[in-house]
């Protein structure tokens, strides 16, 4: 497989992206949170420290991955909609991903 040619996004396109508070988007979602069993985890925190891009902070569609005050990646698995992007999108495959236990996690009302 050849490396895909990526042209960088034009700066005016980049600038045209509105800021969105993802917490407003997920507020209406219905979750059954499994308090005792996080189904997402970081396999090796040192790998995240060494990852300069940290694309998970952006591409996760519900903002599960955020930085704490010390710059460490935190995993807010409670907001997860179980899409699977982080498992395969992490450049270092450093995210542990399991299905929530039966009945837990997102329950769409519309879908």
């Amino acid at each position: 497989m050849s490396e895909r040619k990526h042209r960088p996004l034009a700066p005016e396109l980049e600038a045209s992206l509105p800021r969105v508070d993802v917490d407003d988007l997920i507020a209406p979602l219905k979750y059954y949170v499994d308090d005792d069993h996080p189904h997402l985890w970081i396999k090796d925190p040192a790998v995240c420290t060494g990852c300069t891009a940290k694309p998970c902070l952006a591409f996760c569609p519900v903002g599960v991955y955020r930085l704490d005050r010390r710059g460490q990646v935190m995993v807010g698995y409670q907001a997860c909609v179980e899409c699977g992007s982080c498992r395969v999108g992490c450049p270092f495959l450093n995210i542990g991903w399991a299905l929530p236990r039966g009945g837990y996690g997102i329950a769409y009302k519309f879908g």
């Binding site: 050849s2 895909r4 040619k5 990526h6 042209r7 960088p8 996004l9 396109l13 045209s16 992206l17 509105p18 800021r19 969105v20 993802v22 988007l25 997920i26 209406p28 979602l29 059954y32 891009a53 694309p55 952006a58 591409f59 569609p61 519900v62 909609v81 179980e82 899409c83 699977g84 992007s85 498992r87 395969v88 999108g89 450049p91 495959l93 299905l99 929530p100 236990r101 039966g102 009945g103 996690g105 997102i106 329950a107 769409y108 009302k109 519309f110 879908g111």
Partner: protein, 438 residues
């Protein structure tokens, strides 16, 4: 669950593929259990979405009398090609789309999937929700003999396991049927919002005569920042479904937040008026497996059949998926019935499923469009380039400038040459044609 739960067949996953398989097997007389991890079938499911009734009719010929919870029939459909500040719209509507039942309906999966699973229950399928399958159990010769679940003593036995686990096909991977996990350059991450609007308002905005009409629009170009992907705008009964999907690798590479791409698309001057004043009802996200024909997992193993998204059965070009899934589920179910008649559950016997698929539109279409993924893959700026050109050309074409038309035509040609050499255009066209013809 008891210690020794035995069935003729186990289906993992209560989406369209799994339910189609379960209904087919139950109608054929098999004792069938369907295990679903959500609180109800459909709780985890999300699509654009348009459902095609041909696949449903093949499974339940009397589906219409069972009152499926569709949103609106699709009586108008087509494409919008968006530049940053304009739109070329190519839409088709007609009386031909108004028969009842229609060929296609918009739908919401948390409403449709529970109805479909309920039909399986009516046919005698035991549906067990709130239960996650953790493993396909195999004997010492590697043949599937059932599944393990996250319930205490949650082992279930059957000589056939149908994997309808969806795009995150962890069990299919565990069995070694897929070559590794999903490749980020061949899966799209789609985000969607359902926005509530009064029925009459939707009809006024989209030019519909009433709730018996609906629109499905697929949108290219600026909606995805010109990157490989598509967006959509569909009318539901009292809501519109709007969303955007990009190849995951593009999001990763450009460090994009998918919900910002969606918000930008919603604010486009050609889109915004359709949504104005609406109530956000739900936001969600889902992966779409677009690996294509050449990267599908193996579809059978000893005692195992793989169906639907778990087997990458998506025709992205035509936004088809649930109909491929239902058809595959039905064909898997028919193969399971045959296997029970012959009492042969070996991969060799189950390969009849793949042969049936190869004779159906499912594998024929996937095979025909096998090069489309690679076309976008090797030319990621293809959509943006041509969509912007078409919009600029249209503006020149539709505007009187007081210059001779010959000069206007030359200007349009110049617009194209700025973006692509003649050879480049010829090459793109050739590859597009090859991609379409298969």
């Amino acid at each position: 669950m008891g210690a020794d739960l035995r069935f003729d067949a186990i289906v993992v996953g209560g989406g369209p593929a799994g339910v189609a398989a379960a209904i087919t097997m139950a109608k054929g007389g098999l004792d069938c259990v369907l295990i679903e991890r959500g609180r109800f079938a459909g709780a985890k499911n999300l699509f654009g979405g348009v459902l095609y009734t041909h696949a449903l009719a093949d499974i339940l010929p009397d589906y219409w009398s069972r009152q499926p919870p569709f949103e609106r029939p699709v009586t108008e459909q087509g494409y919008w090609l968006l530049s940053p500040d304009s739109a070329m719209r190519i839409l088709h509507k007609g009386e031909c789309y108004k028969g009842e039942p229609a060929a296609a309906y918009t739908a919401l999966r948390a409403r449709f999937d529970p109805w479909f699973a309920e039909q399986a229950v009516r046919e005698g399928v035991l549906v067990i929700p709130k239960t996650t399958v953790t493993e396909v159990r195999r004997d010492d010769q590697g043949r599937a003999i059932g599944v393990a679940t996250d319930r205490p003593e949650g082992e279930v036995s059957a000589p056939i396991v149908v994997l309808a686990e969806g795009v995150n096909n962890l069990l299919t991977q565990q069995l070694g049927l897929a070559r590794g996990d999903l490749p980020p350059r061949y899966v799209a991450l789609a985000v969607k919002e359902v926005i509530g609007l009064p029925s009459a308002e939707i009809e006024a905005r989209f030019g519909l005569a009433g709730p018996q009409e609906g629109v499905a629009i697929d949108i290219f170009g600026d909606a995805t920042l010109g990157l490989p992907g598509t967006a959509f705008l569909y009318t539901d009964t009292k809501a519109v479904s709007i969303g955007v999907g990009l190849l995951l690798e593009e999001l990763v590479h450009h460090n994009l937040r998918p919900y910002e791409v969606l918000a930008r698309f919603k604010a486009h001057p050609a889109v915004r008026p359709y949504l104005a004043g609406g109530t956000p009802l739900e936001y969600g996200a889902h992966l779409i497996p677009e690996q294509g024909y050449d990267r599908m997992p193996q579809l059978v193993a000893d005692g195992v059949l793989v169906v639907g998204d778990a087997a990458c059965m998506v025709d992205a070009l035509h936004r088809e998926g649930t109909n491929l899934a239902m058809t595959a589920g039905r064909l898997a179910g028919e193969t399971a019935l045959e296997a029970h008649r012959e009492q042969d559950f070996s991969a060799r016997a189950l390969r009849a499923y793949r042969r049936r698929l190869a004779e159906s539109f499912v594998l024929k279409d996937l095979k025909q469009y096998r090069r489309m993924t690679d076309l976008l893959d090797s030319t990621p700026d293809l959509l943006g380039t041509y969509v912007n050109f078409i919009n600029e050309a249209a503006q020149r074409y539709f505007t009187a400038h007081g210059i001779p038309k010959r000069e206007m035509e030359a200007e349009i040609l110049g617009l194209l040459r700025e973006r692509r050499s003649f050879l480049g255009v010829a090459r793109d066209l050739m590859r597009l044609l090859r991609g379409m013809r298969g």
